[in-house]
C-alpha cells in the first residue's frame, strides 16, 4: 500500500529576484543583490578596520570605517555557528551599518521563488532567513540582512563603542 500526499502546497512567493550566492565554510547562502552595496576583498581593509576591545557579540569583533559610516563587521562563520574559515571578502550592506565577512562569491542568480521557512524551524534561524529558495537542485537559505544584528544588539554595540561613534557623528554634522 502506498500513501501519497495530497492537498495544496505551501504558497511560495513567485518572483525573480536578483541575488548573490555566497559561501561560508562550504555552506551556500543567498542574499538579495539589492541589499548589498559593495563587495570588497578583506586585503583592502587594512587601516579601515578597528578591533572592538570589549566585544558584545561573538560574531562582531571589528568595526569598519566606510566613508561616513562606521559599520559593524559580522563574521558569518560565527554568526551561523559554522566551523571557522578564512574569509576573503566582505559584503558591505546597503541601509544597514553591517559588513559581513564571507569566504567567496559563487555567482549571481535569479531567485525563482521564496518558500517560507517551515514552522518546524523554531530557533534563531527564524531571524536569520527570509525563507528558502531552490536553485539548480539545491535548497539555499535566503538571508534576512536585518537578522545579522538586531536593534537591541545595535544599541548594545553602540553603547560599548560610544566614544568612537560619538566622535564620528560629531565630525559628520556640518558646522
Amino acid at each position: 500500500m502506498k500513501i501519497a500526499a495530497e492537498g495544496k502546497r505551501p504558497r511560495a512567493v513567485r518572483h525573480s529576484e536578483p541575488a548573490i550566492l555566497f559561501s561560508v565554510a562550504d555552506q551556500m547562502f543567498a542574499i538579495s543583490a539589492q541589499a548589498v552595496q559593495e563587495i570588497r576583498s578583506t586585503d583592502g581593509l587594512v587601516g579601515e578596520a578597528s578591533e572592538i576591545h570589549a566585544p558584545v557579540l561573538a560574531s562582531v569583533r571589528h568595526t569598519l570605517n566606510h566613508g561616513r559610516r562606521n559599520l559593524y563587521v559580522v563574521n558569518a562563520c560565527a554568526h551561523f555557528g559554522l566551523p571557522a574559515a578564512r574569509p576573503a571578502l566582505v559584503l558591505i550592506l546597503r541601509e544597514l551599518r553591517v559588513a559581513v565577512l564571507v569566504d567567496r562569491i559563487e555567482r549571481m542568480a535569479g531567485i525563482p521563488a521564496l518558500h517560507p521557512l517551515p514552522k518546524a524551524f523554531s530557533g534563531r534561524e527564524r531571524r536569520w532567513y527570509r525563507g528558502l529558495t531552490y536553485v539548480d537542485g539545491q535548497v539555499i537559505p535566503v538571508i534576512d540582512p536585518q537578522g545579522f544584528i538586531s536593534a537591541a544588539e545595535f544599541e548594545q554595540l553602540d553603547r560599548v563603542n560610544a566614544s568612537p561613534l560619538a566622535a564620528q557623528l560629531e565630525s559628520a554634522v556640518p558646522s
Binding site: E6, K8, R9, E125
Partner: protein, 167 residues
C-alpha cells in the same frame, strides 16, 4: 526504491481511528496514527543549512514541497547518525493561513519499511511526555508518538525536558 507500507496481517486493514503505521528507528518500533501519514518517501537528498532547532536536520524536497526533516533518533533511541532507508512524511496540525500552508508536513528518517496495523490503544504509564498512547501488536508494546509534543519539546534546549515522564 519507493517505500511501501504493508499490512501486519494478511487481511486488508481498513484505515480508521484504530489504524496505526508502525515504523522502525534503529532497532525500536514506534507507531503513529495512520491518518497522519502522507507518504513513505525514498531517501532523497537532505539539504542541511545552519539552524539551532534541535532534532531538525534540514529539509527534503518532495513533490515540489520543501519538507523539514525531524531526526528523532537522538531522543527516541538515544543514538545519533542512525542509518535510514526511507522518510516517513507525516502531517502535523493544521497549516498556517499566513504562509498559505494548509498542510504542515514533517519527514522522519526511518530504518525500514513500515506496517499498517489496527489495534486499541491505552493510556501510557510512566512514558515520556511525547508518548500519546500505547498499543499492543502481536504482544509487542509500542509507543504511539505525539509528534507535535516531541517537536515542541525539541525546541527547548534542555534535553531533560524531552525526558519528562507522564504520571
Amino acid at each position: 526504491m519507493i517505500g511501501a507500507i504493508r499490512a501486519v496481517d494478511a487481511a486488508p486493514v481498513k484505515v480508521d481511528g484504530r489504524s496505526f503505521v508502525i515504523f522502525q528507528i534503529d532497532r525500536r518500533r514506534f507507531a503513529l496514527p495512520a491518518h497522519r501519514i502522507a507518504e513513505l518517501a525514498p531517501p532523497v537528498r537532505l539539504h542541511a543549512f545552519p539552524s539551532t532547532t534541535p532534532l531538525v536536520a534540514g529539509v527534503i524536497v518532495r513533490r515540489g514541497r520543501i519538507v523539514p526533516v525531524c531526526d528523532a533518533a537522538p531522543v527516541l533511541v538515544e543514538r545519533d547518525n542512525v542509518p535510514h532507508r526511507f522518510y516517513l512524511v507525516v502531517r502535523l496540525a493544521a497549516g498556517d493561513a499566513s504562509t498559505g500552508e494548509d498542510e504542515n508536513l514533517v519527514a522522519i528518517p526511518v530504518s525500514g519499511e513500515c506496517e499498517l496495523a489496527s489495534a486499541d490503544t491505552r493510556a501510557p504509564e510512566g512514558r515520556p511526555a511525547y508518548v500519546a498512547s500505547s498499543l499492543s501488536v502481536h504482544g509487542e508494546a509500542l509507543d504511539v508518538l505525539d509528534l507535535e509534543k516531541l517537536m515542541a519539546l525539541s525546541s527547548r534546549t534542555e534535553r531533560g525536558a524531552l525526558e519528562e515522564v507522564q504520571p
